[in-house]
Structure formats: C-alpha cells, structure tokens
C-alpha cells in the first residue's frame, strides 16, 4: 500500500526531485496565499496587537465588527459611495462594451468585406496595448471636450473593449455553423434577426467570460480614474481608498489621531484592502472555469 503510493507520487521524478518539487511549490504557495490570509485576520487586532500578537493570530470578533463599522461610516460613508460608483461605472461600461463588441465580433467572423482585415488588425493592436499607455492621451482628448471630472471620463473609454471583440470573433468563427445562418436566410430572416435569434443565444458562455474580464478590468483600474477624476464624490473605490491611506497616515506607526475622530489605523487600512480584494476573489472562485479558459483563449492557436 505504502510502496504503491510511493511509486505513484514519486515515480520517475525521483525522491530528491520530489522533495525539491514540493519545496518550491509550497514556498510559492506561501508567498501567494499568506499575505491574503494575513489580511483577512488583520481587522481582528487593534494597533498594539499588530506587533504584540503573532502575525497570524486572531484578535477578537468584537474588534473585527468595530473596525468594519469605522470604515463604513468614515467621512459620512464615503467608502460605500465609492463602492457604489465603482459598481455603477463598471456595470455601465460592461453593458455598453458587450453591446458594441459582440455584433462586431460576429460580423467579422461570418462576413468578408473591404476593410475587414484593417479592423481586425486595429483590434489586435489596441487589445495588446497596455491600457496605461493610453491614459494620458485619453485624458487630453477628453479635456478637449470638457468631459474630464465627470463619470463619463471613466465610463466611455472603458466601453471600447477590443479584447471582447476579438474573443467574440474567435468564438463565432469556431462555434457558429454557417449552414445554420444560411438556412435562416433562406427562410427569409434578415441579418439583424439572425443575429438576435441565432447568434446571440449561442453566445451565452461567451457572455459570462467577457462580463468577468471586462468588469474585473474596470473594477481594478486605478491609473484611469486617478487621472480623470478630481471630485472625491465621483471617485472609484481604489482611488478613494488610496486617498484615505495617503492622507490619514494610517500606516504611520505612533500616529496620534485627533481626539473624537475615527482613527484610521492599521486595522482600518486592512479592512479597506479587503473591500478592494474580496469581491474580486469571490467572483474569481465562482467563475474560475471561465477565467481559466479565458486566460487561454486570448493566446491559443486556433
């Protein structure tokens, strides 16, 4: 029994090799997981306990709730306002970007027409261009039309989602039977009807994936909103939280808070980090299958 287990798990890797392999994999597991785990525990401690307790110890549940409450009522609940802004900007851009890119990917996949390869080229190039390369030029352009410091400055640029158009293109190209479309056309359906009745329902798995990627990218975008917005009522969650962390000396040890005001300290900063990370982790875990196949679709050779 033991020898069989040994053979199966060590096999042609070798004993020494097996130990080495496990050591490397576990060291990296610690590197990736322990900081997140620490962050989950951090709000249970008060500032003194951060250094007196073991870093991975749990303080108290009461402290956990107090700290969460402190963060949520900080500056009249601006954190929840920013949470709402992030959600609103993200969902709005998500919706528009899908409305734009799915028909585009569809028609690029099923038709050949003059200009098609130019559009595909531009889609690829803009999709592979890091978003931060365009932030300052986009700011200058939006400044010209006086849209800076409005929600539109964040929403509109995010509506252009070339990766989505490319994925939709690949998806329709590989999974939409052309005979089905021809049959519908013979039955007298027009192009728009064919798209709505046949192509769109087929895109359900694609919609989930695109929604995840687009929303995630918008939720996590920092450079864009940071440059575009001045008014703290319009901030997204990452930009807002950063202003708190930067302005309250939350991370400065020995900082003396103003009497009466809520002290934004280590534990509050940790909660702020959790508010940023946890929603995305939950979506990650729920849609892992989509994400993993999606990470691959962009690169896979068809």
């Amino acid at each position: 029994m033991l020898t069989r287990w040994f053979k199966k798990s060590v096999g042609s890797i070798g004993i020494f090799g097996s130990i080495l392999r496990w050591a490397v994999l576990l060291i990296f597991a610690i590197y990736f997981v322990v900081p997140i785990f620490w962050l989950l525990l951090a709000p249970s401690k008060d500032t003194a306990q951060f250094s007196s307790l073991n870093p991975l110890a749990f303080g108290s549940l009461g402290q956990y709730f107090t700290v969460w409450k402190n963060v949520l009522i900080y500056q009249n609940g601006e954190v929840s306002l920013w949470f709402g802004n992030s959600l609103y900007y993200g969902l709005f851009s998500l919706f528009v970007s899908l409305v734009l890119c799915i028909p585009a990917g569809y028609i690029l996949a099923i038709r050949r027409f003059p200009g098609r390869s130019l559009i595909l080229w531009l889609t690829l190039i803009t999709m592979l261009l890091p978003t931060s390369a365009l932030v300052l030029p986009t700011f200058m352009e939006l400044n010209l039309v006086h849209l800076v410091n409005t929600p539109w400055a964040v929403i509109l640029p995010a509506c252009f989602f070339p990766f989505g158009a490319y994925l939709a293109y690949i998806y329709y190209k590989t999974s939409l039977p052309l005979e089905l479309i021809d049959a519908a056309r013979v039955d007298g359906a027009n192009e728009f009807n064919i798209f709505i009745r046949i192509a769109l329902p087929l895109a359900k798995p694609l919609l989930g994936l695109l929604a995840f990627i687009s929303f995630n990218a918008n939720w996590n975008n920092y450079f864009g909103p940071y440059v575009m917005l001045n008014d703290d009522r319009l901030f997204t969650l990452p930009v807002g939280i950063q202003t708190i962390l930067g302005s309250t000396s939350a991370l400065e040890p020995g900082f003396n808070p103003t009497p009466g005001a809520i002290h934004f300290g280590y534990s509050e900063a940790a909660v702020a980090g959790l508010i940023l990370i946890v929603p995305v982790v939950i979506i990650f875990l729920l849609s892992q299958r989509y994400v993993i196949s999606g990470a691959f679709t962009g690169s896979v050779k068809e």
């Binding site: 999709m127 365009l134 991370l251 990370i277």
Partner: protein
C-alpha cells in the same frame, strides 16, 4: 472593364449577373458596417483618437494659453529629453525590465513545469491558490507590500529580521525598488501566466510524451528537453506582453511614493509614465507630457505589432 473584350452576345447577360452580384456585395458590405458602426466609433474615439490627439499636442505651443498646433516644432520633445529626470526614469525602468522580465518568466515557467509533472487535483488546487492574488491590484497590493515588509507586523518578519532587515526603511531603499516592484507584480500577475503556460503544456500531444517515456526519459528530462522547447512560442508571447506592460509601470511607484510613511525613500517620479504625468499635472506642460506619452505609446505599439507578427498566435483570416 474586362467585359469589353467579351463576345457581344455574352456581354449583356454577363453584365446583369455581374452588377446584381456586385449590388449584393455592396449591400452586404453596408450591412457589415452597420453591425460594426458603434464599435468603430468607439475605436476611433478611444483607441486611435487619443494617439492622434497626443501627436497633435506634442507639436503644439501652449505659451499663450490656447494651444497653437504645430507652432512648437520639436520644442516639446527637447524639453522632455533635456529634463534631468528623463535619464533617471528611463534608467530606472531599464533596470526594472532587466530584472523583472527574465525573473518573472523563468519563475512562471518553472512553476508551470513543476505543476505539470503530476497533473491532478493537487496541481489544480495549487494553481488556483497562485491565481487568487490576481484579485489584488493597485492600492491593495501596495498596502499588502507595506505590511509584509514591516518586520514588526509581517508574518515574514522573522525572515526579514534574520537577514538583518529590522526596519521598513532598511528594506525599501532606492536600490531595492526594482525588486520591490518585481515582488508586487509577480504576486498579482504570475497566477494568470502560470495558467496560460500550464495550458500550453497541456496542449502538447500525448504521443510525444509517451514516446519520451518509452525512450526512458524521467520527468525532469521531459520537462527540460521536450516540454520547454515546445512551449517556446508561449514564452515569446509572455516575454513581449510582460515587457510591454512593465515599461508602462505607473501605479506602484506612484502609490508607494505618495504614501507619507515611506516618502523619504521613494522618489516622487520614478518611472517614465510618472514623468509624463508630472509634466501635465505638476508643471502644466501638456505639450511635453504628450510628447513623452507618445514615446511610451510607440514603445507599446511596437511591442504589440511584434506580438502579432512574430508569434502567429492570432487568427485573422
């Protein structure tokens, strides 16, 4: 028209057929562009427009308050090149690329190969764990790194102290910044790339792997001599995308530099993108900012062009 040389009796019927098929084609083209119209409008506005506008501004003169296009010649570019921070930021980003690109790729490929030696539930659980920090971007990562590198509160504190780093300011120094940004970037981005390289490994044909086993290859030899060469195109893909992404470094140095607590050790302008930002928002010099932003944009465009041309990953026909 070619029909001129056609025999007379054929000409009329041919022309009718030709023009009706052309009409059909025209109609199809119009339809296609109706589907594409909204997408193209947004592409013009937010894909191409910013670049074109930055190009215009980079040659514009702002000295009178209103931009006078093409009045500045290459003055804005000279301002950028003459600024002493230009060399500083490009040296920094060069150092960062020299460290982060090879180390990042080597570790990702190593982890993917190690995981792939024994595919199964353990491997896929580990892959998921590696992937989770991908949820933490920008301020959250900076926050985590500050905590993790503060020896008194960090779960890694004992390690830091054991190598003689007792205080935060011993750890974050100008010389260590490229490594700090590597630690942050790898923490967030590695998981996704491990998934991609692992997927590439799964794509290797089973016959090849079986043949290797028959020839008496052990797992290490397989990894080194068979799997590694076969995923080379994906490594090139990763190389170009990581390079293009890392050149644009902005958020991490910007946040780290603005954190009052560690201000002293982190220069306020460390990367070229920060310099472009600083030209516009600290100095109000939009011309110079556009010139530098355009240089950065061209580096990015060059990388994505090579990407499409070299790797042959992208299906376009």
């Amino acid at each position: 028209m070619t029909s001129l040389s056609m025999p007379v009796e054929d000409q009329s019927t041919k022309q009718v057929r030709l023009s009706s098929s052309r009409r059909r084609q025209n109609r199809q083209t119009v339809e296609a562009y109706l589907f594409l119209l909204p997408y193209i409008l947004f592409m013009l506005a937010f894909g191409l427009g910013p670049g074109i506008y930055a190009f215009l501004i980079s040659f514009a003169d702002f000295s009178t308050g209103v931009p006078r296009y093409f009045a500045a010649g290459i003055k804005n570019y000279l301002t950028v090149f003459k600024d002493q921070r230009f060399n500083f930021t490009f040296t920094n980003i060069g150092e960062f690329l020299l460290i982060s690109v090879p180390v990042g790729i080597a570790l990702v490929v190593l982890l993917a190969l190690l995981l792939h030696m024994r595919p199964g539930r353990v491997a896929s659980t580990l892959r998921t764990l590696y992937f989770i920090p991908g949820a933490a971007v920008g301020p959250a990562v900076v926050l985590l790194v500050i905590f993790m590198l503060t020896p008194s509160v960090s779960p890694f504190g004992f390690l830091l102290k054991s190598i003689g780093l007792g205080a935060f300011n011993d750890i974050i120094t100008p010389a260590s910044l490229p490594f700090i940004f590597l630690i942050m970037g790898f923490f967030v981005g590695a998981g996704m790339w491990i998934v991609i390289q692992y997927g590439a490994l799964e794509g290797i044909s089973t016959e090849v792997m079986e043949a290797a086993t028959m020839d008496g290859c052990n797992e290490w030899q397989k990894a080194l001599y068979i799997k590694l060469p076969l995923i080379q195109p994906y490594i090139i893909y990763q190389f170009i995308l990581i390079f293009a992404g890392n050149v644009q470094l902005f958020v991490e140095p910007q946040l780290l530099g603005n954190q009052t607590y560690i201000h002293a050790n982190v220069p306020l302008v460390w990367s070229p993108n920060q310099l472009a930002y600083s030209f516009a928002f600290d100095l109000g010099n939009f011309g110079a900012s556009a010139a530098l932003a355009l240089i950065m944009l061209i580096i990015g465009l060059g990388a994505s062009y090579l990407m499409v041309r070299w790797t042959g990953f992208f299906n376009m026909d």
